[in-house]
């Protein structure tokens, strides 16, 4: 009698093991509904239950993505000194849905003025003085937020924004107060990655040619930035 029971139990537990194995396989395959769970598994699930349920809502635990850090590259037209490559970096903080604060730093190297080209040897600036560096703090406003579409299957968020700011430009051995304004287009590729095109004008006074004059320096860049 005992021996029979022992065998019976052995067969049952083997079946149990196989069944659990099956249930695991079918979970992985996800092709058919799992067989009804055994009593043993029920107890196990009861132990795991507190781990998954009854979460209280904590505001601090939500991943906030208001900070955007990016790089941009393109052309800068330095008045009287050709169109040059520019590299710039920006940190943007989005306070409310359509307003952001932008801190920018960039640099370029000025080419030659027409005067320098025509005269041959005469140089207005030394190599060091051709370094063009700027920083500014700007406010950006998402003037036309919207969506763009690729074919019929893909929609991405976007915005046409305007910028206005002030900062400093170090060029031709002189630092000048600089106003900047422009507009840009932001393409939100994913929740954390955006692409932009930015067109900005930098206005400052220059005395390179003796008399003081106001210069307009246009930037056209493409950039990529990541939300944190």
């Amino acid at each position: 009698m005992n021996k029979v029971n022992f065998l019976k139990n052995g067969v049952l537990s083997l079946t149990g093991l196989m069944l659990s194995g099956c249930s695991l396989l079918s979970f992985d395959g996800a092709s058919e509904p799992p067989p009804p769970p055994e009593r043993e598994q029920d107890t196990e699930e009861a132990i795991f239950e507190p781990e998954v349920a009854r979460q209280t809502f904590k505001e601090d635990e939500i991943d906030t993505e208001n900070l955007e850090i990016g790089l941009r590259y393109g052309i800068l037209s330095i008045e009287d000194f050709e169109v040059n490559e520019i590299v710039a970096a920006q940190v943007n903080y989005h306070f409310i849905e359509d307003l952001f604060l932008s801190l920018n730093y960039g640099q370029a190297t000025a080419g030659q003025s027409s005067y320098e080209r025509l005269s041959g040897a005469a140089q207005l600036l030394t190599e060091d003085e051709r370094d063009y560096r700027f920083y500014n703090a700007s406010v950006g406003f998402d003037l036309f937020p919207g969506e763009v579409f690729f074919g019929s299957d893909y929609a991405y968020n976007s915005a046409l924004y305007v910028t206005l700011g002030a900062g400093s430009t170090d060029f031709a051995g002189d630092e000048q107060f600089t106003l900047n304004f422009g507009f840009g287009f932001r393409f939100v590729a994913t929740d954390w990655l955006t692409l932009q095109v930015l067109m900005q004008n930098y206005v400052f006074d220059s005395t390179v040619f003796g008399e003081e004059k106001t210069t307009n320096n246009f930037e056209l860049t493409g950039g990529i930035s990541v939300f944190f």
């Binding site: 695991l24 196990e44 208001n66």
Partner: protein
């Protein structure tokens, strides 16, 4: 062995589903395609529906719906839901009270420093509602020189609970002056400075503050006489609690 495997399976599910869940208890809740008021509503969640809160951008929350799709819900709408324990969820809405209780403040100021344009950044830490310490760094761009200054200010705010709140300050620091290269060469100068100032903060909305002040500096030069300079600034601040 099977249990160990299953344990692994269960915890993998837990890790994947780590977002907080909220339940809609109002008759409906609008879900937008983007984090902005103008983005179209593409889904209306019904009473009893569960949403997973994935991330936040300004006042908008990205949620995953029961059908696996994702959309954006405004803070005000999300505040009408309950969490898994049935408690109404609470999201801080910055107000005048947050401004009064602020601990940190970052400012950007534009101004006039005795004829030169000045650009300043400052970080301010409030120890009590009345007393704060501020670190400020400025660049001044003038016709004859460009200079930098850095100083620490002790700021006293007599009426912290007012929306338009005046303050006074005293400070000390250093100023570095570079004469313009195009002029006759003079040496760069490093001097100490002392200041007194008077200003006002105006709480605008959300985390924004408009701020303006007047400061009078005494620059302790090596020359026979100390230099006295006035500065006016206007700018704005953002605060953090």
């Amino acid at each position: 062995m099977v249990f160990i495997l299953q344990l692994g399976f269960v915890s993998a599910v837990v890790a994947e589903d780590d977002f907080m869940r909220v339940k809609v208890v109002t008759p409906f809740l609008d879900v937008h395609t983007g984090p902005g008021r103008g983005f179209p509503k593409f889904y209306i969640a019904e009473r009893g529906e569960w949403l997973q809160v994935m991330q936040r951008k300004t006042d908008w929350f990205l949620v995953r719906l029961g059908n696996g799709k994702e959309g954006w819900v405004h803070r005000e709408a999300l505040q009408l839901t309950v969490d898994e324990t049935g408690e109404p969820i609470n999201i801080e809405d910055p107000s005048l009270q947050s401004f009064i209780n602020r601990r940190w403040e970052a400012s950007m100021l534009f101004g006039d420093f005795s004829g030169a344009s000045s650009l300043s950044v400052a970080i301010n830490h409030s120890f009590t509602p009345n007393i704060a310490v501020e670190g400020m760094f400025s660049q001044m761009l003038g016709d004859f020189s460009s200079s930098y200054k850095a100083h620490i200010n002790l700021v006293h705010q007599a009426f912290p609970e007012w929306r338009v709140s005046p303050f006074v300050m005293v400070g000390a620091g250093i100023i570095h002056t570079d004469p313009k290269a195009t002029l006759i060469e003079t040496d760069n100068r490093d001097d100490e400075l002392l200041l007194v100032g008077l200003g006002v903060r105006v709480y605008l909305t959300r985390y924004f503050v408009l701020r303006s002040d007047y400061r009078n500096y005494v620059i302790l030069t090596d020359l026979n006489e100390d230099e006295e300079v006035d500065e006016w600034t206007l700018g704005f601040s953002v605060f953090f609690n």
